[in-house]
Symmetry: C2
Subunit: 397 residues, 2 copies
């Protein structure tokens, strides 16, 4: 795609068609507050660029199409969601609907060169699987702080070798299309806003509990990144004075008590101490435990596993309660690898938030699990790059 | 003032002249990205309405003024900042410069009718003192949650009798001008942004430590009020599990440990326990102590008073550290009645924030006292109503 919107009205129309799908001129007219004649002019220009196509039987080839319009079905966005131990890659169409999706194990500690090579191989595979068309743009999520919009990781704690690596530039050259990079939690929030549980919600927070714990913040429909791009970095908020040591060097951080890493450690300890026959059996079989094992044991009614989830949920709920008092969101979304922990986790989080935050902030506050599971990040990534392409004036990067 | 901006360009020009003072056409042209001819048209229209006046010697009466323009010097805004025990009222000119200012003791528990009567009497007094011109608009801050933009208090804990009272409508009728109402903490943030330490900062938080503790949040230059208007309500964030009982019904809230009310209680306890000769002498003299007494004792080197301030600062710092990790502001402003506690307080807050938040969020983060002291709120109130008047399309209320 070489065409880009030529003014702010065109950018608005492109985003509307992406978010709401095919629409009649009358429907578009109601939403953009343009005069009929101006709307017709801008749509004709977009049709001429090929970004927008006529849709529906009544569209005629010669004159002005009289019915629906839509984004051209040929648009292809690549979404990449890199985690600590796996990567999700997907190709989407114009409305960010997933056309093909792959998950592969990957070790982010292998460094950017090796990992991005795997990402590019997956992208090539998916390109073939979706008909071979070039990508119009790519969005990438990384499991650590990212300088935005430059797209370089900043001292990411679980990504040795990535500090300052020009991910955006490097992938852009290899893929031959515009690339935008953000942290994985912001992209999960964008994904849930585009196609998930936060659809049409303008002010919400999305807490991702994976290996670590982070938070995406959406203010007035846009991701709030903060002064240095580290907004939402809640894993190292202190929940216990002089508490457990945390790999970050402090004590008592939330991540020292919960998240995939802490949960695995606690589960192994419970198994060894003889508190859980179910976890002990799994540990003996495989020599190690992870959050999924705790989820499985809990589903089978194992008391120790349920208690670990409940205690972690209470700690997380303490932090979310403070954020709710401060930020007063309209919705709290819980996502990430541990959503397999399900309703035990959710119940513990809700208990703390409703107990500790003021009624005015919680009176109408849903606390829900994300809907999109493992594809929230790749849909959010596609949204990130399409927001970039469908903007006017064009972003500086 | 009956004139209002007729389009978004005029609204922008009015806000620019309010915020930056008199400017030449060339200066304005650089800032609003309008063509020269369009700028000239809009300025001529504003000159015709009387909202804008020619300024500077080169302005000629007959033709188009060739030099500076400014907001008409006749504009008058009323700013009201109601606290638990006192009210500040001020009249400002067009650039929100204070022309006259009064502080009076008032008991907010006397209820809205009695209190607003006193506010109106002060307003009348100030109107006379500033030449008798009618107010073009009034901004009002209340010490509790306010439904915005309706301007009614919502279950304000320290304001019995005010719940749902139509403050905006009632004062609007009495004053005969548009009125906007917000909570006092948001107005302190707006004031410090307009004329104080947060000047030109677009993302910051302003923590007000008065009788209670609250926080104003500015995102991208605008106050973030949250889904139900309670954003920034941080006084009841839990800082200690199963801690001190708080009047709100929970235990361990920040306000149970710090703020004017908690500090006064702790000071009296210290005096009675014989820990502080200075505080004991003051208590014997007047039968009661307040935050100002603790400040006075601390300035005189009283160890117990210094320790009370330090401990309160550490508790407050714990909460601010979490907010900094979450929100990643560019600046933290500390204001309110206890700023008299000065650098002991600031040092304790800084200690906790820099120790607990991640380096990326704190690497470039100033934590400073507010500059405007008792007039931050009234300047913020004037800014609130002028934002409302200088907006297009006009706000629904």
């Amino acid at each position: 795609m070489t065409a880009r919107p030529a003014n702010a009205h065109q950018a608005r129309l492109l985003r509307l068609l992406r978010d709401s799908g095919p629409a009649s001129r009358a429907q578009l007219g109601e939403r953009v507050e343009l005069s009929r004649s101006r709307l017709a002019v801008e749509l004709d220009r977009l049709l001429a660029t090929g970004l927008v196509a006529a849709d529906g039987l009544a569209a005629s080839r010669g004159g002005r199409p009289s019915h629906n319009v839509r984004l051209t079905p040929h648009l292809r966005f690549l979404g990449v969601d890199l985690g600590a131990t796996s990567v999700d890659v997907a190709v989407t169409g114009p409305e960010l609907e997933i056309l093909a999706h792959r998950t592969r194990p990957v070790d982010v500690r292998d460094g950017p060169v090796a990992v991005l090579e795997q990402v590019l191989a997956l992208a090539a595979e998916l390109r073939t699987a979706t008909g071979g068309a070039a990508f119009d743009g790519a969005g990438v999520g990384l499991p650590g702080p990212v300088r935005h919009p430059e797209g370089t990781p900043v001292a990411p704690p679980i990504m040795p070798g990535w500090d300052g690596f020009p991910v955006r530039e490097s992938l852009g050259q290899e893929l031959g299309c515009p690339v935008m990079v953000d942290n994985d939690v912001n992209l999960m929030a964008l994904g849930e806003r585009h196609a998930g549980v936060a659809h049409s919600v303008r002010d919400f927070i999305c807490v991702k509990i994976g290996t670590g714990i982070g938070c995406g913040i959406v203010v007035d429909g846009r991701v709030h990144r903060g002064a240095t791009g580290s907004a939402g970095d809640i894993g190292h908020i202190q929940v216990e004075q002089d508490g457990r040591p945390c790999p970050c060097g402090n004590r008592g951080c939330l991540e020292a008590y919960f998240g995939g890493a802490a949960l695995a450690g606690d589960a192994e300890a419970a198994a060894r101490a003889g508190h859980s026959p179910a976890l002990a059996a799994m540990l003996e079989e495989r020599g190690t435990l992870d959050a999924a094992d705790v989820a499985a044991a809990a589903s089978a009614g194992d008391t120790a596993a349920l208690e670990l989830i409940r205690l972690g949920g209470l700690r997380t709920g303490d932090v979310i309660a403070a954020l709710v008092s401060f930020f007063n969101p309209a919705l709290v979304v819980i996502g990430g690898g541990v959503t397999g922990l399900g309703h035990t986790l959710l119940a513990a989080i809700r208990t703390q938030v409703y107990r500790q935050s003021l009624p005015l902030a919680t009176g109408n506050l849903p606390i829900v699990l994300g809907e999109l599971g493992p594809v929230a990040g790749v849909i959010g990534a596609a949204r990130l790059i399409s927001d970039h392409l469908f903007s006017y004036p064009p972003a500086p990067h």
